[in-house]
């Protein structure tokens, strides 16, 4: 197991290295006029040249890359060209915001998907049809519209939760939950449908297998058959879907962060890209790829725990 983890981590580091290198040369090689963008339209050529020198942008691109890479090895991702804030510090402040929203969205997605999927598979009939209808509706309903509606109802009209902003969990748990619950609901709405469908389909397949019939003939309770035997076997493909969904949620966090004015990872990536803030863009790339590697590793391990047959591979 340890060898497996080390192998996957090694592959992940190579992936991070390749992706960030490509990102670096694409962004730094794109010729974005960083100094001019910072100084504005009235800056003279001398001022632009001076700032380029201050930022180190007058050096050969390969030298700049190794300078950046050397910083990364020491935990220094550089400073924002526009705000002079340390990139590491900015990411550390922003990651908890996005992770909070995504984590709560995941909890909502898993609970509702399992409830809907299991109920549909177990009961069938009209309940299955109704739940599938709800799931399909949630899949096609534009999440951005849902976000606007939720803000209007729960924040603007009822004043139950804030319309904007993030409260750290250490400051107030209730405040934190209030600040992330609506964005999390918006983020989870599309995922619930697909994950519930995945669970339902896998569960129905499992319930029709021979070993289930054998269990029933031995008098094993339906609850045990459903939760202990069928659901565990059906969970493996659902887990893979869930891992992809988690990464997609992380990527989609931008639009909920815009709607709810959350100072998260997505809005940071968006702003830095619009500004051409190259160190910030690279920091976002580095963290994003790292996250994908870690999530994939966790899913592989979880799959191995759920299904011993996949451990060897």
């Amino acid at each position: 197991m340890l060898a497996f983890i080390l192998k996957r981590l090694g592959e992940g580091i190579v992936l991070i290295f390749v992706v960030t290198a490509v990102t670096f040369f694409l962004t730094f090689g794109a010729g974005i006029p960083v100094a001019l963008n910072i100084l504005g339209p009235t800056a003279s050529a001398d001022q632009v040249a001076s700032l380029n020198a201050d930022l180190g942008l007058d050096r050969p691109i390969v030298e700049q890359y190794f300078s950046w890479l050397g910083g990364v090895m020491h935990g220094d991702l550089g400073h924002s060209y526009f705000t002079s804030e340390a990139i590491t510090s900015s990411l550390v402040h922003r990651l908890p915001v996005t992770m909070s929203v995504v984590a709560v969205a995941c909890v909502i997605t898993v609970i509702l998907s399992v409830v809907l999927g299991v109920a549909s598979a177990a009961r069938g009939g009209w309940l299955d049809k109704v739940l599938q209808g709800i799931a399909t509706f949630s899949y096609v309903f534009p999440a951005i519209v849902l976000g606007v509606v939720l803000v209007y109802v729960f924040a603007v009209t009822l004043h139950l939760v804030p319309a904007i902003g993030y409260v750290p969990i250490g400051e107030s748990f209730g405040g934190w939950f209030g600040s992330v619950i609506l964005p999390a609901v918006v983020l989870s709405i599309g995922g619930i449908a697909s994950l519930a469908a995945q669970i339902r389909g896998a569960l129905i397949d499992e319930l029709n297998k021979d070993y289930i019939r054998s269990l029933r003939s031995r008098g094993v309770s339906e609850r045990s058959i459903l939760l202990k035997h069928s659901l565990r076997n059906a969970a493996s493909p659902a887990l893979t879907t869930f891992s992809l969904m988690f990464i997609a949620m992380f990527g989609s966090s931008l639009f909920v962060e815009k709607i709810f004015a959350l100072p998260g990872f997505g809005s940071y990536g968006y702003t830095s890209t619009i500004q051409g803030d190259l160190p910030a863009m690279l920091g976002v790339s580095l963290f994003s790829v790292g996250l994908v590697v870690v999530v994939n590793l966790i899913v592989d391990l979880a799959n191995g725990w759920l299904n011993p047959k996949v451990r060897v591979s």
């Binding site: 100084l39 504005g40 705000t83 177990a122 139950l160 904007i164 939950f177 619950i181 100072p263 940071y268």
Partner: protein, 517 residues
Amino acid sequence: MGFARRLRVGGVALVAVSALFLASCSDGGSTPEPSKTEGATTQAVQKNQTLRLSITTPPGNFSIGNWSGGDSTPFLSVYDTVLHMSVAGKIEPGIAEKWEYNDDLTELTLHIRSGLKFTDGEALDAQAVSDSMNASIALPGAVSHQDYVDSVSAPDASTVVIKLNRPSAALLGTLAGVHGAVGAPQALTSESSKTQPVGSGPYIMDLKKTVAESKYVYTRNPDYYDLESYPYSDLEISVIGDATAAMNAVQAGQLDFTTLRSADQLAQFPESKFSHGNLNPNAVGAIFFVDREGMVVPALKDKRVRQAINMAFDRQAIAQGLGPGTMTATDQMFSPIYGSAYNAGLEDTYAFNVEKAKSLLAEAGYPDGFDVTMPSTIVSQAFEPLISQALSDIGIKVNWEAVPFQDFYTKVFGLNYGMFYMVTGFSGNDPQDADQIRGGAFNPFQLSTPEFDKLLNQANTVEDGSGFGPVNSYLVDEAWYAPIVRMSSPYVVPNTVAFTPPVVNNTTVLPFAPATN
């Protein structure tokens, strides 16, 4: 089936728990009741009230000389300036309590208030002012326009002398803005000043509560000499990039001010809870004819072509169609609410007249029009169909070239376009506006004429900046630009806040005060 029943019960419980959680969070998002601000209550409110504002993009570098433009409220809340600009646009004493020019307006002497200190305890004297001004001039800052400054010196502890290589009526306005900001000498060149400013302004940045690029929190500077003008004890400036989110926040009681994209949105703010009005015009959208020598677009060398383009626009219809209540048709690049450059009589100079425009083009040798390439940016996109249609009607075909905004300046300075559509903001006085529209990216070919230079020099010899009328008349007559609309915005504040629309928006918190009724 027992298990299915449990599922149902579980679902109901989940909903109930969620509802309880929502209810438990209600204190975080509740709207404060409008305060009664009469008599003694007013004083209490003024002592302990937070003003909550928003900005659309994070502020840039906080060190003196490096402010990169945009809303300067985060910057000018912590830094005091040499002079002040009142809400009405009047230049008033600031760090300098008096000032005077020499006879030929090439030397400005500033008399610094005594007893001032920075919030780190350093003395704020003439040398500190001189150091900051020299830093502002020397460092690559945005829109400095201070090429007329020869030197800044402090002959004694209370006097600063600014020597100019030519008179400039823009200087006083400049000293009242970000380029007149004064920072603590020990922090001027330190790395920390980029994120942890040390000034002497009305507020002190609370570094513990400030989260960079998200929320900037300030507390009152108790030693500030004009606390009466800053009645709020605390200031919070949140970065909110989405206009709808800002509107929601005002409705939910989390923000104290927002602008709206159209007057229609006012319906969402009941008068029982909110006050509203229109900001003063803050910008003009225009086509800039930067290639007036015809190097890239030969036709633009002819004044009649530029005038014809001006006549192609039905400005009234455009203003009504694109921004009812927020846009006003105009032929001029200057603001009508201050100074003397703006001339209402010039507004009919280029009335919409397609036939006359065609005739002018024919006289200039372009009876069939011509093709022109213009940059398509995020700023121009809403206007592009209108510009294409209007110019097509007189035979000019526009090819829009998509340009990411971060590449716009490079393309313009690369002399790729003879004309482009852009918006320029008003500065609060005519001299600074005149500097702005004839410099930088608005004049990449670096063109002028002897007549214009003469008019400009004459205007700059009028100390109070009231001599720019002839400059504006010349620009309109020569059609250096095709102004289309002046822009403004409706605004909304809760009834707990009194807001006075300033001549220049988004610079300080001076327009805000607790409501007194």
